[in-house]
């Protein structure tokens, strides 16, 4: 008896691919990682993926909380309504305007800041902490702060613009349909520059310094080393951050919601604020989900195009 047990134990320890080793492999590849992962999978599945599927299904239903007896599957009716909804097209155009100009200024100011932070100067640590501060300001508070700055009663901006001759008199820009969108865009730039600066700074610091030294020895100008070394090295990072930030900004409703609420006359209504007001002012969840699906499709198309361009254009 004892002898058999010893032999069995010896086999277990020695023979590779025996049951013990296989069980340990199985444990290591199939079970143990999932012990660490299961809470995450459970939460993401139940709070994000399941509602996503339900949300897509809502877009094919009529679900109005104010009209609870008239619910049910309606096929593509919501989508037909979307096609003829003038507010949707205005919101779509505003979404492009808002996203493009926010990204444009955030990116170029962020790149400038990153390049500045990649040099040495007196008080750099303090400078970095201070210029990154807007990122720590809660977005609802950034929105309120900028709304206050744009208010002619307590804010200086209308007065400055009037002094510069941009405005005929210091009035509330956020109430002017032609200019109102620039209020939230300014707040967004203020809030978003630090993030671009951090990610681009990370990329800048990964460029080997020898490249610049070699370029300098060869007599390259600062502009040449920027366009021939810095930009190509930054390109992959630029592509990925611009993509993620575009999607994020297109979805970002807080600033507009607080500063203008989509008004005046829908001039600052973007798709995400339109989704929110449709869902929670009109309580029309079916139609809100339809707008959300449209936004999702647009963003997916954008991401696919950008990733394809990245593969085509970026060599590294």
């Amino acid at each position: 008896m004892a002898g058999k047990a010893v032999i069995a134990r010896a086999q277990k320890n020695v023979v590779p691919g025996g049951t013990g080793a296989r069980r340990s492999l199985y444990w290591h590849y199939m079970v143990e990682p999932f012990l660490y992962l299961s809470p995450m999978i459970l939460l993401i599945g139940s709070v994000m993926l399941m509602p996503l599927v339900i949300g897509v299904s809502y877009s094919f239903q009529a679900i109005e909380l104010l009209n609870p007896f008239d619910t049910g599957w309606v096929g593509f009716e919501n989508y037909q309504k979307l096609w003829t909804d003038r507010k949707f097209w205005i919101a779509l155009e505003n979404t492009f305007f808002w996203t493009f100009w926010s990204i444009f200024f955030q990116f170029f100011l962020g790149l400038g800041l990153a390049m500045l932070l990649n040099t040495q100067f007196f008080g750099k640590k303090l400078f970095q902490a201070l210029v990154f501060l807007p990122w720590a300001v809660p977005t609802f508070l950034s929105a309120l702060t900028w709304a206050w700055l744009f208010n002619p009663v307590i804010g200086p901006i209308p007065h400055w613009l009037a002094a510069l001759g941009v405005l005929s008199e210091p009035y509330n820009i956020l109430g002017d349909p032609d200019l109102a969108i620039w209020g939230p865009i300014t707040a967004n730039i203020w809030f978003g520059v630090p993030f671009f600066a951090i990610t681009l700074l990370a990329a800048l610091q990964s460029i080997p310094g020898e490249l610049y030294e070699a370029a300098e020895i060869d007599g390259a100008s600062a502009w040449q080393s920027f366009t021939k070394i810095t930009l190509p090295f930054l390109a992959p990072m630029i592509a990925i951050t611009v993509m993620l930030r575009t999607i994020w900004i297109a979805n970002f409703a807080d600033l507009i919601f607080v500063m203008t609420g989509g008004g005046p006359a829908n001039s600052t209504q973007i798709l995400s604020t339109y989704i929110f007001t449709t869902a929670f002012r009109k309580l029309d969840f079916g139609y809100a989900s339809t707008i959300a699906v449209a936004l999702l499709i647009i963003l997916l198309a954008y991401a696919v195009i950008l990733l394809w361009m990245r593969r085509r254009l970026v060599k590294i």
């Binding site: 709070v47 509602p51 501060l133 951050t241 999607i247 989704i275």
Partner: protein
């Protein structure tokens, strides 16, 4: 690294430009916050007449006292603190486990799970706002802080996991293997060897998630409608519309709203920048 410093040493004009740029960024970043504080400490009677004056001619802390002791401000503050701390704690705990698994294991379905997590970062969160509202309402959990914590935790997990993974990636695998060689179980090795080294990462993740939860507005606006369960952003918004004539009080409330996230930010700033620059977002 010092390449641009070199070129500015060669051209004095570039050095001047550089300091002009520094001044510009500082002004742009700090002026709105300065203005917020300026109005908050200006006596009510002077707010209109001061106009665009840069320095207030008198200073008062009356607005802060009123906001703190005569409004629901402290209740909002407490609710937000509960939600943000709860979210930060659970998110970091779960993300640390998931990040560790991504960093150390090769397993079936790994690419699929990472892909799904990336997709959750890409689809509009507003897409799921209506279904979540219905689910929470059907469960009878509207106006509960718990439902906010669960939703926020789920939202923050993907990014927090990537962040934690990059911190674990920065810790050599040999360390825990050596500990396991010496007879520790994996869990013991984790606790005694890996955990102390991840503290900065845990701190950065905690701080990041805390600030994200502290400033979330739309889901809080949607799930909370009772005054006594309101979080800070929602409370402040209703507060602002209720007191819309009293600029001084609004600004004082704004300054107070800024305090916790700025304290956290100063505390974690170094870790966060370090973490982000050392790999989390290196594409």
């Amino acid at each position: 690294m010092a390449n641009i410093a070199c070129s500015s040493r060669r051209h004095p004009a570039l050095a001047i430009g550089k300091y002009a740029a520094i001044a510009f960024y500082l002004g742009f970043a700090l002026f709105p916050l300065y203005w917020l504080m300026k109005i908050a400490v200006t006596p009510d009677a002077l707010i209109f007449s001061e106009g665009t004056r840069m320095l207030p001619s008198a200073v008062t802390f009356e607005n802060f006292a009123t906001v703190l002791f005569e409004t629901e401000f402290l209740a909002y503050f407490r609710n937000s603190l509960t939600v943000s701390l709860g979210t930060a704690f659970f998110t970091t705990l779960i993300a640390a486990g998931a990040g560790y698994a991504f960093s150390r294991f090769v397993f079936a379905g790994k690419r699929i799970i990472i892909g799904v997590m990336l997709i959750t970062q890409m689809f509009p969160l507003l897409m799921i706002i209506a279904p979540i509202y219905k689910i929470v309402a059907d469960l009878g959990l509207l106006n509960s802080l718990t439902s906010l914590i669960v939703v926020y935790t789920a939202f923050n997990i993907p990014f927090a996991t990537f962040l934690m993974q990059s911190f674990f990636d920065g810790i050599p695998k040999d360390l825990e293997e050596a500990a396991m060689m010496d007879g520790c179980t994996r869990f013991q090795a984790l606790r005694t060897v890996v955990f102390p080294l991840t503290l900065p990462g845990l701190g950065a993740t905690l701080g990041f998630v805390f600030t994200a939860a502290w400033s979330e507005l739309l889901f809080a606006l949607m799930l909370i409608s009772k005054n006594d369960a309101m979080t800070f952003p929602v409370g402040l918004l209703t507060f602002v519309s209720k007191f819309s004539v009293d600029w001084g009080q609004m600004m004082a409330a704004g300054v107070l709203a800024l305090v916790p996230s700025c304290l956290f930010f100063i505390f974690i700033q170094r870790y966060l920048v370090q973490g982000l620059t050392s790999g989390a977002v290196k594409g």
